[in-house]
Amino acid sequence: MGASNFVEGVDLAFKIIFGISLFFLVGITTVMLYFVFRYNRKRHPRAIQIKDNNILEITWITIPLILVLLMFYYGYVAFSPMRIVPKDAIPITVIGKMWVWTFEYEGGKQSADLVVPLNKAVKLNLHSDDVIHSLYIPAFRIKEDVVPGKNNYMWFIAQQPGEYDILCTVYCGLRHSYMEAKAKVVPEAEYQAWLKALPEKTNEPEGLTILKKNACTGCHSIDGSKIVSTSFKGLYGKTERVITNGSERTVTVDDAYIKTSVYDPDKDLVIGFQKGIMKTYKGIVTEDEITKITDYLKSIK
């Protein structure tokens, strides 16, 4: 049994298409090489002209036509159930944001991985906060684009317990290739227990919630590790060499510097970083929120 309810149909379509293709590829190549050998000028110094043959032309229009229609049919049959969601499917909202997946369960509980019960229909409502992403679970043979401003969806029934890769397949910028998560398929009881244990509302500091909400933590870690840019850990109070209007200077990371960095990231650019990688958050992050972020940064010195 396949990892999801779609595996069987999709793989059958692959087998039919690849099978027919391989037959023709080998057949035509063999005939071609045979002609090249048999009618080589050494063995066959004079070509024999033959007339066009309409019956032959019609034959090799009709047979491929029938075969491709067959392929179309198997492709369609395996695909069409992918768009018809059972009424009792468990709804989960997927939020795609540069470069993190978040899975939101009923009641607003959020998880970084997709945990689903075995043999239950699950519907994923796809939502993007910024650019187009695409949610791809290769083992389940499913993929749909996560388009900002559109309500796309996908669904599946996981049929094998285990852990499967979730990837992003529409290019979405700097850390596109790191926009990964796991799909964990567990028995129903375990799923219920997990869902119950999932914290209702996070007790994390407000500043951290704001940083996560705006995907700041996609580039700036909070544990001291380097992702794309400087880690937030120990940042407050540190001195940095920056370029301001083309000249180097030293600054101390304080309240004012943090505000500049959020609203005008290229103004005091730390040496070694490229302009334009971080966009301005003017109009996205309020001044009040910056104060909360600053408070949080002070707490992880």
Binding site: M32, A47, E57, R141
Partner: protein
């Protein structure tokens, strides 16, 4: 026609006869043959840049994780690799080089209909390519959107998207004007007695191509301008945060860019259709079927664009309609393959380098086409869409197809272009390296794509390592093949070429090698009972 060597009362087109000498004589020439060569030299330079960028990517992908440079650099490299290869190499490609060099001679004309417009198209090409390349070095760093410029990312990124998009826009105009020029040339300037159905099949393929260039390119032109307007004036066409629709962008982009695939491949099919009868000394089998299938591909090719968008959230109806139409366009391509192979039947085959490359083309094109079938079918597309499988598929078409046809065309018309032969043994060796290297580079990408390796990934999961490493070695073999080919073509002068080294029947083989400036001393005609491929 006489078979003995013709005299050279007129100087060849390679000799400067105008008021300028040397480089200036070339840069100001409206001779279709010189313009064809200038396109070829420019394309070789761009192609070399594209190949180097490709290898720079393969080196980084040799191991998972970061080796030599970071993701921002990688994203810029795959973007400019795509822009250079698509917009400056394979789209103008065979039509600009051999359409210019050979087509007017093959239909019995002294030049294209509008020679000065033709030179203008060449300069637009150079300017457009220069702008696209300059986008790498100006502004906020190289564009990082991929060659598809998908909105809203292309609206929001701070990198230098506008310059790259504008370069593509200018290149589009070059393409439109060349198409227009060719359509008029083929309608108005064919030799007396050469009806449309007596025209050789390479010109036929260019005719179908030219209509796509003229009718489809303006759409991408407008679309690219809309991106610029959206970035500069904040007009909300595509970015939902400005009230636009990102899927609209994809429709507009692919309405051009899918037919553009046929702009690339139709002339390639045309070249193969010339080479096979010549080296088999046999009349092409199914002349009319091949000619009409070119038009059929051009026509149906307009209605399949959304097969690039099955996962974009389109309605189920739209998905199956586009899938069905996509399968229909597969049939005319199959017809051509059957006719090519049947032409070899009972021929007298001479396995010279152009024919060898043509065989390579047929094999690689079949793999490219057949792997396209599972991209056209809905269920299978969902799995492999936007993965390395797609990367492999389109490289089999645009490189295995267009590229190998390009190499075949160079080896086929080289004696006519330069009046010199080349070393066959060396040419065959270049084929061995190119063919082996190509398959080793791209075939593993099919497999890791099936396993779930997404495209445009700077870093990847460990299960894909072996595939990427094989691809790297394939890339090395390819580069060796190119070097051998360049040495074969340009290192030293070969023996003088006869007028008709391969025993071809089309007009270009009835005039001196290299041709005189005005091509024909006496304008050719086609007799009532004469056919374009009347081998005896």
């Amino acid at each position: 026609m006489t078979e003995e060597k013709t005299h050279h009362p007129e100087p060849s087109y390679l000799v400067d006869t105008g008021k300028y000498k040397g480089l200036m004589a070339w840069l100001t020439s409206t001779d279709h043959k010189r313009i064809g060569l200038m396109y070829m030299y420019a394309m070789m330079v761009f192609f070399a840049v594209g190949v180097i960028l490709g290898m720079v990517m393969r080196i980084e992908l040799f191991w998972p994780g970061q080796q030599f440079y970071g993701p921002q650099a990688y994203n810029g490299i795959f973007t400019i690799h795509g822009i250079i290869m698509i917009f400056t190499v394979v789209i103008p490609g065979l039509a600009a080089v051999f359409g210019n060099f050979s087509m007017p001679i093959m239909i019995g004309a002294r030049d294209v209909a509008f020679p000065r417009l033709n030179l203008f198209s060449f300069y637009l090409y150079v300017i457009g390519a220069a702008i696209a390349l300059a986008s790498q070095f100006m502004g906020n760093g190289p564009p990082d959107t991929g060659w598809t410029f998908y909105a809203p990312y292309s609206i929001q990124t701070h990198t230098n998207v506008v310059a790259a998009v504008f370069g593509a826009f200018v290149l589009g105009f070059s393409s439109i004007l060349t198409g227009l020029n060719f359509i008029v040339t083929m309608h108005r300037m064919r030799a007396p007695g050469m009806t449309f159905f007596k025209m050789p099949l390479f010109p036929w393929s260019l005719y179908a191509t030219a209509w796509i260039q003229v009718l489809a390119t303006p759409i991408v032109g407008i679309t690219l301008l809309m991106i610029i307007a959206e970035r500069w004036l904040r007009i909300g066409f595509f970015d939902p945060s400005l009230g636009g629709d990102p899927v609209l962008y994809q429709h507009l982009f692919w309405i051009y860019s899918h037919p553009a695939v046929y702009i690339m491949i139709l002339p390639a099919m045309g070249v193969i259709t010339e080479i096979i009868p010549t080296f088999s000394q046999k009349k092409i089998f199914g002349y009319k079927a091949i000619a009409i299938s070119s038009l059929a591909i051009a026509l149906v090719g307009y209605f399949v664009w959304a097969h690039h968008m099955y996962t974009s959230g389109m309605s189920t109806t739209a998905r199956w309609v586009f899938s069905l139409l996509t399968f229909l366009v597969a049939v005319p391509s199959a017809i051509k393959v059957f006719n090519w192979v049947t032409t070899m039947y009972k021929g007298s085959i001479s396995l010279k380098p152009p024919f060898l490359f043509a065989l390579g083309f047929i094999f690689l094109f079949m793999i490219g086409g057949m792997t396209g079938l599972s991209l056209g079918a809905l269920a299978t597309n969902i799995h492999v869409h936007d993965t390395a499988y797609v990367v492999a598929h389109f490289h089999y078409i645009v490189f295995g197809g267009v590229g190998f046809a390009f190499f075949a065309a160079i080896f086929y018309w080289y004696p006519k272009m330069y009046g010199r032969m080349y070393n066959f043994k060396m040419a065959n060796w270049s084929f061995v390296f190119l063919f082996t290297g190509f398959n080793l580079l791209y075939f593993p990408q099919f497999i890791i794509g099936m396993m779930g390796m997404p495209r445009r990934y700077f870093d990847y999961l460990p299960q894909f390592t072996l595939g990427h490493q094989l691809s790297f070695f394939g890339g090395l073999l390819l580069v060796i093949g190119f070097i051998i080919m360049l040495i074969t073509l340009f290192s030293k002068k070969g023996a003088p070429a006869p007028d008709n080294p391969w025993g071809g029947r089309t007009f270009e083989w009835r005039i001196p090698s290299p041709p005189p400036v005005e091509n024909f001393e006496v304008m050719p005609e086609m007799a009532e009972n004469e056919q374009p491929y009347d081998y005896k």
